[in-house]
């Protein structure tokens, strides 16, 4: 009897058993394009990141393989036409170089800039104007747990008053010194700083629009990227970004959520300012820094 029962149970297990294997998918033809991110703000040097996209299953994964180092990049503000040079900065958290184009002239306020990138004979152009209003932070608070689409986590609550009569978009920016004991939300820790402190800047993943709340006192809560201890300090600033930045990063944010959440329809990256390229060239203004000390 027992033997019979076991046989039946094994057969039942077959029903609910699955088989899983890694497969090779025939890659569809894919035309590589540029991925361009150039955000400018008055008083700071421009940094234009240019990478190439690759077929999905392409083995190239590191930044050096993906960066485009032979593009001709110029920034024109009507009076000067500056050619940017290829440069890099060491990313101490991920122990790698990040590559970008820059030059020695700081960005001016209330100026229209035209970015022109020439690569493989194709010219990619976009414009941005540094005329965003600086909006001051009126309060900073801490909450141990808050819930958003990315789940439950701690948060920093930023208070400010929207500039009335304008279409505004806001996101937080935080700068702090950390060391290799600190991990980011993707669980990465620095493996190359050996206790030495290094500076990190982080940006909020969500950009808030002032639609329907024009001119009102507002708060939003953001999730910090790096872990902390009680008493750690950081400087928080509020970015007022232009609509192109909002559109691009909002698109990325929604796709990121769809990547994580299997119950959400996939989000396509919509071509923005550049024809035949993914990316953004936008301007933003930043508020004055406000010191924030983690209370726990």
């Amino acid at each position: 009897m027992k033997k019979k029962t076991n046989t039946i149970f094994i057969l039942f297990l077959l029903v609910i058993m699955s088989c899983e294997k890694t497969i090779t998918i025939k890659q569809q033809s894919y035309q590589s394009k540029l991925s361009i991110q150039g955000l400018i703000t008055p008083g700071e040097l421009p940094k234009i990141y240019i990478n190439r996209t690759v077929p999905y299953f392409d083995p190239k994964v590191n930044t050096r393989e993906l960066t485009v180092d032979n593009a001709t990049v110029t920034l024109n503000n009507g009076s000067t036409n500056d050619m940017l040079h290829f440069d890099s900065a060491y990313n101490y958290h991920y122990c790698r170089y990040d590559f970008f184009y820059t030059h020695a002239q700081a960005i001016q306020a209330n100026t229209s800039y035209s970015l022109n990138i020439t690569f493989n004979g194709i010219v990619y152009s976009a414009q941005a104007t540094t005329n965003q209003s600086k909006v001051s932070i009126t309060s900073l608070n801490y909450v141990q747990t808050f819930k958003d689409l990315y789940g439950e986590h701690e948060g920093i609550i930023v208070g400010y008053t929207d500039k009335p009569g304008e279409e505004n978009f806001y996101r937080y920016e935080m700068g702090r010194m950390i060391d290799s004991s600190v991990h980011s939300v993707d669980a990465a820790k620095s493996s190359c700083t050996f206790g030495q402190k290094y500076y990190v800047k982080e940006l909020g993943r969500t950009i808030y629009a002032d639609k329907n709340v024009d001119g009102k006192a507002l708060t939003f809560t953001f999730e910090p990227n790096y872990s902390h201890k009680k008493g750690d300090s950081a400087y928080v600033r509020l970015q007022s970004v232009d609509k192109n930045i909002f559109n691009f990063y909002d698109n990325l944010d929604r796709q990121k959520l769809a990547q994580y959440n299997p119950f959400v329809e996939p989000v396509f990256i919509i071509p923005g300012q550049f024809k035949n390229a993914i990316g953004v060239f936008g301007a933003y203004a930043v508020s004055d820094s406000v010191l924030f000390v983690y209370p726990e």
Partner: protein, 796 residues
């Protein structure tokens, strides 16, 4: 004429009624006039027919059980034409007066009956047919007048023999109506092993599944591996894919009309089965011999008991249970009145932990109840009035990769309908009626990252907004015989959807025309317009049933389809072989999908998360069927294309429907070797369905923010195809009379093998990234390997 109040005039009056209810007193005289003109056009041929005729009417039944035979043919040899029995086994024929009239009564799988009757006065004759034995099957071929597939002005309609349903091999030996439906031309199956079916490019919600006229919203058990329909309780199954008669409406793509048995009117009997997944028992018998009867059939899985017994404590708490109960009673109140009571309840409850970090809790079920009253006003006028209630709910909480989705769908419908069948002359068979339904839908959906403590609160049903709506539909349909060669079925259905803030009035003309080339060959054409007021919003990415039902609203307009079909129908060897070749073209508007990236923490208005588009489907379907003999079965092949277009999806470009499968071949056969052994097999070969994968990878960097990372560059939605799907299933059935405690009964041992050559067909594909090398790859999950099964059935 009696019919007027029930059709066009009725439609017009109702519109006026609705308008006045809503304080819009302006009467639409124009609409009313249009309706009256349509009515006159439909009835004109019938009004002009006034020859001297008699009427022959009655019922056709099984001689042993008294069960009615649906779709049996009563053929008049004098006039070389016939009628078929309706869902209640009733037929009515007007024939020219004659001294005697020759009749042949036939039904597939039964011994035909030939007789002569007086042709001078009206006759009421009930016929009892006897099931054929295997040895007789070949002898009676020449008497088979059942060539309805060629001679009737009906197309895209398939009756599925119950014998075939009971003989075909299925997963774990469970007989299944819906699995057989998937083997028919024009029908695509859903994910491997599931009962979902997609007809001529329509989504699953575009199929109206009726059990004794009650809608069954989710006709499945065990994650869709089995249907809710217990084959022992079913009398008849008909699938309509196009050329819809006007009495049907509310869905765009198909009607699956399932009729329960009435129960043995002659003697108490029973049948049952013990299988690997479930066991079932059916009891039936007369309440009053030859007058009234009952049937009760129940099925329950015992998989949960096994799993509980064999799963160690503190391990994965996988568990699953389901049951269904069918019950029906019928009473012959008088010679002209019959009363039918039907009840169905099915429930699934599951908890599942496992596959690809997938956890899952689901509880869903359908409850339906139908009260029907048949009344014969005269031998030319038949009426059925029904009161139908159905209640459906699905509660699902599922987590996958640390994200959860939670949804609740509740639907309650109350239906009242009355259908008249009128047989005024040999040239006309008119159906008319109305249907009023009141629906309450309460959908809710939430999806976000799972809380750290893992506790996901159950949805609070009281807080879900209830959405109320009504639909009233009037219809009239005339089956017209214009000449020996030409006949038509012409109808009009007028549904009106009413919700507190919106109403939709739609006209649905239906027409099927047949031209008979010879006794065995005809060509047909059909045109139909259909509308749908309830919608299932599918999720294209999750590997689980996270679909949700919603009602039409101001934002969600009724789905609409136009379908045209052409067909060549030919039978061979005295209807032993039926063949058909149909081509169709269907357009669908107001199709519903979730917007890209739509998700919510709170289950707020779902409407705002939807996007709307259109679809089209076209193709050709070949069907070759052998009806009689020791070997029966069919071959079906479908070549089709289905595409969708949404302004806000896929850069506004057209993309293939998820179940757009170019080729679909099914070969099904049953062979009665002798009185003890029956062998069956089914082979399925389909092109892979469509799914979405990115074609490129884009790197985004900027100051080490949370945005940094890799993004997907999509070239198109549903841009990839799964591998070709194929499998072969076989079964052997050993029939034997047996005895227990001195009581004789028929026993059946069924040995079946699903997926006999253990093909690993693709179930879904997902992407992964190596944590160390960051290399991307794809992984494919296959669900059902070779599954041998054994079950035991008995009948007394």
């Amino acid at each position: 004429m009696f019919i007027a109040p029930f059709s066009s005039l009725g439609g017009a009056f109702f519109i006026i009624f609705i308008e006045s209810l809503q304080g819009r007193s302006a009467v639409k005289i124009k609409l009313m006039k249009q309706n009256i003109i349509l009515l006159l056009i439909l009835l004109f041929p019938f009004l002009t027919n006034a020859q001297k005729k008699i009427t022959i009417s009655g019922n056709v039944k099984d001689i042993k059980s008294g069960e009615v035979l649906i779709g049996a043919t009563v053929y008049v040899t004098n006039e070389k034409r016939g009628a078929t029995t309706n869902s209640y086994g009733f037929y009515s024929l007007s024939v020219k007066q004659a001294d005697s009239i020759g009749l042949v009564i036939s039904y597939q799988g039964y011994q035909p009956k030939i007789l002569t009757t007086s042709g001078r006065t009206d006759q009421v004759i009930d016929y009892n047919l006897e099931e054929k034995s295997t040895s007789l099957a070949e002898v009676v071929v020449s008497l088979n007048k059942n060539n309805n597939n060629v001679s009737k002005a009906k197309m895209s309609v398939i009756n599925i023999p119950m014998k075939q349903i009971k003989a075909l091999p299925m997963i774990a030996g469970e007989r299944d109506v819906l699995k057989v439906v998937q083997l028919l031309p024009g029908v695509q199956s859903g994910q491997e092993g599931t009962t979902g079916f997609y007809v001529r490019g329509g989504n699953t919600d575009q199929n109206l599944v009726l059990l004794d006229e009650a809608t069954v919203y989710n006709p499945s058990h065990l994650f869709g591996l089995f249907s809710t329909f217990n084959t022992n309780a079913i009398n008849n199954v008909t699938l309509i894919k196009g050329g819809f008669p006007a009495q049907y409406g509310g869905r765009l793509s198909s009607i699956l009309d399932i009729t329960m048995k009435e129960g043995n009117k002659k003697k108490f009997s029973g049948e049952g089965g013990i299988g690997l997944i479930s066991s079932n028992l059916t009891l039936e018998g007369p309440i009053k011999k030859n007058k009234s009867s009952f049937i009760i059939s129940a099925r329950r899985t015992f998989a949960d008991l096994f799993v509980k017994a064999f799963t160690p404590k503190n391990k994965n708490s996988t568990n699953y249970s389901f049951y269904d109960v069918n019950a029906k009673a019928n009473f012959e109140v008088s010679k002209k009145d019959k009363l039918y009571l039907s009840f169905f309840k099915g429930l699934d409850n599951a908890k599942y932990v496992g596959l690809s970090s997938l956890n899952y809790g689901i509880n869903f079920g359908n409850t339906t109840g139908t009260v029907r009253w048949n009344h014969l006003f005269s031998n030319k006028l038949f009426n059925n009035t029904s009161f139908i209630y159905n209640d459906y709910h699905l509660s699902l909480t599922t987590t996958q990769d640390q994200y959860y989705a939670q949804l609740y769908t509740g639907i309650k419908d109350v239906n009242f309908k009355s259908d008249f069948s009128y047989f005024p002359s040999p040239s006309h068979s008119i159906k008319a009626g109305f249907n009023y339904s009141y629906s309450t839908l309460f959908p809710s959906t939430t999806s976000a990252k799972a809380p750290k403590n893992g506790n996901i609160n159950k949805p609070n049903l009281d807080s879900i907004q209830h959405v109320y709506s009504s639909i009233i539909a009037f219809y009239v349909n005339d089956d017209i015989t214009v000449s020996e060669r030409i006949s038509a079925s012409v109808g009009l259905r007028v549904p009106v959807f009413v919700k507190s803030d919106v109403q939709y009035l739609r006209y649905e003309p239906r027409a099927t025309i047949k031209y008979q080339l010879n006794d065995a060959t005809s060509i047909k054409a059909a045109y139909t317009i259909m509308n749908q007021f309830k919608h299932l919003v599918p999720n294209s990415t999750a590997s689980l049933p996270t679909d949700i039902w919603i009602s039409s609203s101001k934002i969600v307009r009724p789905e609409n389809s136009h379908q045209i079909a052409l067909g060549l129908f030919k039978n061979f060897k005295d209807n032993t072989f039926e063949t058909s070749l149909e081509v169709y073209y269907k357009t669908m508007s107001n199709q519903v999908l979730f917007k890209e990236g739509a998700q919510s923490i709170q289950s707020a208005a779902i409407d705002s998360k939807l996007t709307f588009g259109k679809g089209s489907s076209y193709g050709a379907e070949l069907f070759v069927k052998k009806n009689v003999g020791r070997f029966t079965g069919w071959l079906s092949y479908t070549l089709s294309w289905t595409n969708q277009k949404f302004d806000s999806l896929n850069f506004g470009k057209q993309f293939p429907f998820t179940y757009d499968k170019r080729h679909n071949l099914s070969i099904v056969g049953t062979f009665d070797l002798n009185k003890h052994w029956t062998f069956s097999g089914a082979f399925v070969l389909t092109s892979g369905g469509a799914f979405t994968l990115p074609t490129g990878r884009a790197t985004v960097y900027g100051d080490g923010s949370l945005y940094d990372g890799t993004y997907y560059d999509y070239a198109g939605r549903n841009n990839y195809r799964y591998r070709t799907y194929h499998r072969l299933d076989m079964s052997a059935i050993f029939h034997r009379p047996a005895k227990i405690f001195g009581m004789k009964y028929q026993s059946e041992l069924v040995i079946s093998i699903y997926n006999i050559y253990n093909r690993h067909n693709p179930y879904f594909i997902y992407l992964t990234k190596d944590a160390i090398t960051s290399q991307t790859s794809a992984r494919e999950v296959s669900l059902l390997p070779i599954i041998p099964a054994i079950s035991y059935n008995f009948k007394f």
